[in-house]
Amino acid sequence: MNATMVAEGAVALEGVTKRYGAETVVAGVSLAIAPGEFFTLLGPSGSGKTTTLSMLAGFVMADEGRVMLGGRDMTHVPPRGRGLGMVFQNYAIFPHLNVAENVAFPLTVRRAPRAEIAARVTEALEMVKLTGFEGRYARQLSGGQQQRVALARAIVAHPRVVLMDEPLGALDKNLRYHMQVEIKEISRRLGTTVIYVTHDQEEALTMSDRIAIMERGRIAQMGPPRAVYECPDSTFVAAFLGEANLLPARRDGDTVAGPGGAPLLAGTGTLTAPEGRLFVRPEKVAIATAAQTAGPNALPGKVRHASFLGNVVRYAVEVAEGNLVLCDTANGAGTTIHAAGDRVNLTWRAEDCRLLAA
């Protein structure tokens, strides 16, 4: 692609690698993000997501590969030359500046005219609903308000790309949900590309257009939330993105032998070896009394625990060879709730399960 053809707001990493001594923290990560996309780097701590973001920001220089912003090679450009907006973990609100001065900071250091600074700060504070807080200091703000200041400061200079490093990590659950919606809303309104780092899978699923799940410095899988959630390519991705049943399975001709040798049908999968794991999400598993027999994918078992969670009933069902299968049932109209000790049959559709390498 010709560099001049790439839109502002496009971001690409090309085989980016970072080593600290003998340890490779990021190993050849490549990704291409479209302008206006909400892209999330998701992974456990130590998976390299923050280092990847730091290389995009310019705080960390890549040992190998290229960092492209808007089609320009920015691999060796210091942070201030990259023109990105940023929201930091713990917000990094300057304690010696008030809200208005904090939000104005990116413009002040770029020596923007005074009138323009004032207008943009007003606009940014309006957008995060902090009008009237201009004169306050960080210590006079709640966590959520500090988060809004950080957000306003990230967008005040109208950057094409905003980087966010676990911005909601310090907030309680309710506030977090509100802020997720608001961040998403603002980014959509401004049309900015957002690159978002989190270890919270729920947050990644709600907010993102696409998610890259990172594991030990590599991208384990990348795709839209529903695709990565429903079709994981590895047991790591399956287990990291919510609850997953991963049952021992062995190929047996055209079918698969599940726990106790039960013949099962698996839709798709990445397994090439003869033995692996059969993946199925708890909410895809249907539970019925032992008397009712069902289709091809059926496992008999005994209820070990039934947890009533309000809208959902979660069962842990013991099937052959001591394997536990989790099964979530919506607490809909006229749902029978099975008790511990009940003999049941578990069933699911072939297209809802995948065969993965163990």
């Binding site: 920001a57 310019g58 705080f59 210091p78 942070p79 201030r80 023109g83 990105l84 940023m86 930091f88 973990q89 713990n90 990094a92 300057f94 304690p95 010696h96 900071f105 990116p106 002040t108 250091v109 770029r110 200091y137 400061r153 200079a157």
Partner: protein
Amino acid sequence: MPLKLSSTLLLLLPALLLLAALFLVPIGWFLVSSIAELGTWREILTEAEDVLLSGAVGRSLVNTGGIGLIVTVLTLLLGYPVSYALSRVRGAAFTAILLCIVLPYFTSTIVRTYAWMVLLGRNGLINQLLLALGLVAEPVNLLYNRTGVIIGMTYVLLPYMVLTLYAAMKAVDPRLMQAAEGMGASPAQVFRRVFMPLTLHGVVAGVLITFILAIGFFVTPALMGGPGEVMVAMLIEREVEITQNWPSAALMTVVLLAVTLTLYAVYSRFAEPGEALK
């Protein structure tokens, strides 16, 4: 676990008793008995006016303030970069810098002052070097004048400044500086707009503590200064030892103590970073 006020007092008690027995009681006794010697309040006030408005005391007060200011400014200029370096490095480099600052203080002030006299004297190492290099035609007077006093005092007071500044600089969250950089600030802007304002309370505290210590100096100006560099502490000593005019020494002490305590009151407000920001 936070201690109750009573347990805190109990822990402080030995130190408080020692301080009271060796410092507060003698100085109180000295001040009260010396000044009471003068007679009535009216007589005390007349004497105070005479002592404090006399030329010698006036000159020494001006000297003390002037030298204190110059020394404070010099320690700040020399100390700020050193403290900055100290707050940024870790491991062996940190230990090395810290040792360079603190190690000389394991010897007494008098020994160190004599060491400076060896260096700065007319035939001292520095003059020999300057002569050998042909930079000067005849030895420079570095001793027994204001230059000598300032060099000696700056050296002695530098660590107080460095350690006070270091404490303030260490408390600055490095993530704030990284954030500033990420938002487009140049290194100079990061320093001027973030680091400097966040360490300003440390500068104020360092300046005050250095100045407080400087105006009470005795050994260094006595050994390295000339007859024109008489500081208040030297004058007090002279009144006690030579002219044996205790009341006049006591009055000067009161003045010095009052200035010091006033500055300390200001200092204690700045010692807490949170206070300075309010």
